[in-house]
Amino acid sequence: MILQLFITGISMGMVYALMAMGLILIVKAVNVMNFAHGQIFMVGGYLGYFFSNQLGMNSLVSFILTILALMVFGVIYMFTVYWPLRNASWPVTVTISTLGASIALTEAVRLIWGPFALKVAPIVDGSLPLFGSKLQYQYVFLIVVGVVCIVFVYNLFEKFRVGRVMSAATQDSYAAELMGIPIVLTVTATYMISLALSGIGGWLSAPLFLVSQTLGNFALKAFAGIVVGGFGSVKGAVIGSIMIGLIEAYSIIITTTYRDAIVFLVLILVLLFRPQGIYGEEIEEKA
């Protein structure tokens, strides 16, 4: 039981982490909270349903096509929801436009695939007997792919030159322009990667849950993960998200009805007593 909760917790944490990484990449790049991120996750799930079930493609092709589709969509998304508003005198306009996007995406999906929840066949069938309980292979698969993605993103942005140039460019756009790094490209690339990550999360978890419009709400947990981990680092976002996954899984022991409330209470407590999160830097005022 405890072990099974652990596995569920970790795998849910992975799902949140995939979203949280994408969110934090956008925050670091352009200081925007993408409130439509959960809907991107949902679109990932629906694309999985579309490619695998409706078109009957094999899992690998479906996976790759989902990623490609979301990368293309990332470009469109960046140029409609963020780019025209980058110099707005009220930064909140970008927030509102992502809220608008979240509504539009939810509705678009409903118009295409209807309001009812859809069942997606598992990518790897069967389950592993484990100390008297059963563990679906899908969970194991999810964790493996999640870890691969995390390692990839972490290395891309913290180790490789490309990623460092990208984060440097977005932190000081003026200097970057002087050095000949086009901001448009780095921001676009960030959006592409970010949306693809969230979509992968949706694609992976589609078989575990029914695919429906409520999948968008998963993003709230990713927000929580970011804050708990520390606003501003990929590492923090991942660790925070996994913690949120575990807290959520184990809170079943105490209560089932208030499971989500416990997660958000933890979030509020972290904000109050350690607002910089676990891995965040001290928040300092600038004069």
């Binding site: 005198s89 009220w90 005022e285 004069a287």
Partner: protein
């Protein structure tokens, strides 16, 4: 002599950088104290310490006979420490009138509730007319502050500060980016401050201006006071020439 502001052995570090090293500093009522030094000497940091935007690591700040070292910034402002910034800090999305009224609000200090019920404050309109006569330009009060030129904004910031009747006014590079005529207006504003017995701290890079208006000058270098004297002596001080003027050759 009427001492209004006093810094005793003030220290401030940012990581490994010493921004203020045992600074002692005095400002008298109705006099202008010049604060000069090469770039990065810690002049603006010192103003931030005085106005409370930064906390001092140790040392004491005494204002008007009271120890204000641990008083938060907004309370120091209410006690009478007014300031302007190197790049004027205005509310970009509010009208010019609202921006200037904040100065009067600070002077009136009547609280939100009294203000809400329309308690009369000081004569804002009259005050402002006098000050606008000195600066010598007119603006449309309903426009946003960003619609007027930089020079006018810099002057309006001093006007806003004067509207609050401070006891000490910290002025950070008021002449930077201004033309000759505008600088004369700034000097007029500073003189008005003197006539109101305000102790003024002036950071300025234009030496002619500093030499002509200041009654004494403090020279900072690497967060340390290297000279504190009357203008005539400062220009002849060797350490100052070496640290400050000497860097040009």
């Amino acid at each position: 002599m009427g001492l209004i502001l006093e810094l005793n052995n003030v220290n401030k570090r940012f990581g490994g950088v010493v921004a203020a090293n045992n600074v002692n500093f005095e400002v008298e009522k109705g006099k202008i104290k010049g604060l000069i030094g090469p770039n990065g000497a810690g002049k603006t940091t010192l103003l931030n310490l005085i106005s409370g935007i930064y906390d001092v690591d140790d040392g004491k700040i005494i204002f008007d006979g009271q120890d204000v070292t641990n008083v938060p910034a907004h309370k120091r402002a209410r006690m009478g420490i007014g300031r302007t910034f190197q790049t004027p800090r205005f509310l970009d999305r509010s009208s010019i009138e609202d921006n200037l009224k904040l100065g009067t609000d600070l002077f009136d200090q009547m609280g939100y509730i009294n203000s809400f019920f329309g308690k009369k404050g000081s004569d804002y309109q009259h005050e402002l007319e006098d000050l606008m006569e000195i600066v010598g330009f007119e603006v449309n009060w309903d426009d946003e502050i960003s619609s007027i030129p930089y020079g006018q904004r810099k002057m309006l910031e001093i006007v806003r500060c004067l509207l609050s009747y401070p006891k000490v006014m910290l002025v950070d590079e008021p002449a930077a980016g201004l033309n000759k005529m505008e600088i004369e207006r700034v000097v007029d504003l500073l003189n008005l401050g003197i006539s109101r017995d305000i102790g003024i701290v002036l950071i300025e890079h234009r030496m002619d201006l500093v030499m002509s208006v200041c009654s004494s000058i403090t020279v900072l270098n690497f967060g340390q006071v290297i000279c504190d004297s009357i203008p005539e002596e400062v220009v002849n001080n060797e350490e100052v020439i070496e640290a400050y003027l000497g860097r040009q050759d």
